[in-house]
Symmetry: none
């Protein structure tokens, strides 16, 4: 690949190609280009290592070269990512066209300049199209492909195949317009955002929060049209537009020049929306939406960022307030291919019982924040009878023993109203100072409560299955 321009976008392209096994030559007259490309490749490498388990191909070679000619000699694809100045880009593309092999593709990363204008000085304009990526180029899959008046149809097809092979999602723009599709949408939102700050209605952080805690979570997987189709319920898009069309006249943005909702336009939107839904009912789409939102919230929780931080804070509250034992329902999704509940779910039930007990002993949000926590170091599970979906179950917990750093528990899982155990778990918990990462004595007031409970439970009979080890004989 021959890359012209090594700013954030050019360096991102370099990283995506190199990590997909292509050799890259990059030309950029700036003194910082080389360091930037190395840094971005480093970041991309870290990201790819986390991203996938699939074996990556041997990395391509990244070479920073001193001339445009050297960058494009013998390549399959020339990708221009210079600053958004039409004369600059037009000149680079014409030069690249002259120096590159005649069958090479030539693409521009422009965010919105028209391909017809960019290809104006090229000798072989038919092999040129816009390929507009999004930052970070090595992680975001979207690439908008847009043909100019002199672009050959097969050029866009060939470009699509190249970008798909490096994990991207090409979107072919149907007609040549300034800003293509994505940046028109981004620009509309951006201009309104500037108004909000300009009017003093919100700070930049509040504008960002208004997106990332709400609609932004949906936009990660579902655009506005599909979202509104769901909002329209069984009657779908026609109903939604009928209901919310009048709001277009309201001063809800500074953008007051709105398209007229003619019957023809409503019909077009409704038909295209039907095609997009592809037979999926509003119900199915709702359920998909919820499943994906749950996964996204969990992903964000892992970094305790944005909505994930909100979720984590709520969970800490719940944990602080948990009542000791409560009856639970076995949800249908816990059933495995044998029609039984997966063994790891038994441990999930027992671990929840442990959490509930610890909550009752004063291991709350404040205790955790101060760096005290119990970690499970050993568990012995016995499966005696089978759980089924829909069962109502409860766990009883007995403290077998404790010392200053350890808590030894015995759980019994029972179907509600029955006395015959479904399963048992014996667990050893170690108290840890999470700051140092080492075992440390339990702190007050938890320590006293643990001692009290241990004494109370000391009078209970020792469970028959306590102290078992696994063995054939």
């Amino acid at each position: 690949m021959g890359l012209l321009g090594g700013g954030v976008i050019g360096a991102g392209w370099a990283a995506r190609f190199v990590l997909n096994g292509s050799d890259v030559r990059l030309f950029d007259p700036s003194a910082e280009a080389s360091a930037r490309a190395a840094r971005v490749l480093d970041d991309a490498r870290t990201a790819f290592q986390q991203l996938t388990l699939a074996p990556l191909p041997e990395e391509g070679e990244l070479r920073i070269v001193d001339s445009l000619e050297e960058a494009v000699a013998g390549v399959e694809l020339v990708q221009e990512s210079a600053p958004e100045r039409i004369e600059l880009k037009r000149g680079l593309l014409a030069e690249g066209d002259r120096a590159a092999p005649p069958d090479a593709l030539i693409c521009s990363s422009t965010s919105g300049l028209r391909p017809s204008e960019l290809q104006a000085e090229m000798e072989r304009p038919e092999r040129f199209c816009v390929a507009h990526p999004f930052n970070p180029v090595y992680l975001l899959p979207l690439v908008e492909l847009c043909a100019g008046v002199r672009t050959a149809p097969e050029t866009v097809e060939r470009a699509g195949a190249v970008f798909r092979s490096v994990g991207m999602q090409p979107l072919v723009v149907r007609s040549e317009i300034d800003g293509f599709v994505a940046d028109r949408l981004l620009e509309a939102l951006w201009r309104e955002a500037l108004w909000l700050v300009s009017d003093g209605a919100a700070t930049v952080e509040e504008v960002d929060d208004a997106i990332r805690y709400g609609a932004g979570l949906r936009w990660a997987f579902m655009g506005t049209f599909l979202t509104y189709r769901i909002a329209g319920g069984e009657e779908g898009m026609r109903h939604f537009i009928r209901q919310f069309g009048p709001a277009l006249e309201w001063p809800w943005t500074h953008l007051t020049d709105v398209p007229e909702l003619t019957d023809e336009l409503v019909e077009r939107i409704a038909e295209q929306s039907d095609a997009q839904a592809d037979g999926r009912s509003p119900r199915e789409l709702e359920q998909l939406r919820d499943r994906v939102l749950v996964r996204l919230l969990q992903a964000l929780r892992a970094e305790e960022t944005a909505a994930g931080a909100t979720l984590a804070a709520w969970e800490r509250e719940l944990l602080g307030a948990a009542a000791p034992t409560s009856v639970r329902h076995i949800p249908p999704e816990w059933v495995d291919y044998n029609g039984h509940v997966h063994e790891s779910r038994y441990l999930e039930l027992f671990a929840d019982a442990t959490d509930a007990l610890l909550g009752g002993l004063g291991v709350d949000a404040g205790y955790l924040e101060d760096g005290g926590s119990f970690f499970t170091v050993e568990t012995h599970l016995s499966h005696l009878r089978q759980l089924e979906a829909g069962d109502r179950v409860r766990v009883t917990t007995q403290v077998l023993d404790s010392d200053e750093k350890r808590l030894h528990l015995f759980h019994v899982l029972l179907r509600d109203g029955e006395a015959d155990p479904l399963a048992t778990a014996e667990q050893m918990l170690l108290h840890v100072d999470t700051t140092s990462g080492r075992a440390a004595p339990v702190r007050e007031p938890v320590r006293e409560k643990v001692a009290e409970l241990t004494q109370q439970h000391g009078s209970l009979p020792r469970p028959e299955r306590a102290g078992r080890s696994v063995g054939v004989s």
Copy 2:
């Protein structure tokens, strides 16, 4: 809680409150309200079971009532979610105000009507504010709070505390404007989207794709201002605005009425952006962005939707080009509220290793259909070191012993490339005739393979942790 209106939003509120342990009375004259509320609660219950491992409080009671008076009697909060018609809402709020206890909060879910107009007919307007949620209300954390001219400041504070306690993220809107903050941004994007379809520049699906494969992934956790700050590099927001300010004059959206970038406005944006970044360098923000994007892409891959489907397709290509591997990735959704992988996930990894071993021994779909299966009856887990999200791990499995009905295994979980175990599991499996539900001898050809493997593994040293029991001393 007393809810007025049980459409999608009202039903979503009901579900969020009920699952957080509050009793809810919902008044809606529509015949469908009851069925809708039940269905939404059902969906929300499923979502919450997936969402968190924290013990949820005992569910509140959801009652559909026949009058507004019954809905609001004795409640702490009245939440109105009627259709967006000012007279209707104004009337309901005035009635609710008369019937509710004098110290109850009264809120409206309006997406954009001004609180000053909504509170116009209330006797106690000081306890009213807008609390605007986003669909699905039980999953999206954002709630915009907006005071009217007659709202008391403590009303917004009290509302914030109530919504925070049910896992939401309140955003206080500084000045009373139509559409508040979020819907102004959404509306700007929506109007431009309608233009794109109206102009034939894109279909509704293409508009959605232009968001969800690109900027939408960032918007799930990082708004436009922070994104652009990163794009501005070391020089931050001032540099970005200087560089891209001129583009505001370009016809990149139909929204051409733009704020003037006065020095004062640029300075305000830059200062607010500094406050938002809170000392984090562009480099740190970039790395945060990449880490979160990786987690989001993986979350989407789990549902093979949007950018996750693109990722999965790319991985299949890579996998097709290489040998399979048993190394596994720890997905972000496995991380619990402590930042660690939940103990039940360790057992999930070990159970998968058992399944893989059984598959290799000939326990396939046919064997299962014929009524033969191995069930785990006992497991002893030892947690030695901690797993982290993104770790690449593998499990080694040793057959310790077997007889005609039993298989005794020892698993070791290792981080890829390391020899020091993260955890071990000793398991006893019992062979069962699933038709009779009783233990039964292993059948051919599995029996012979089990015997062979047991003999082979017999020469391996016995693991140090085999045969352990749990105990303090």
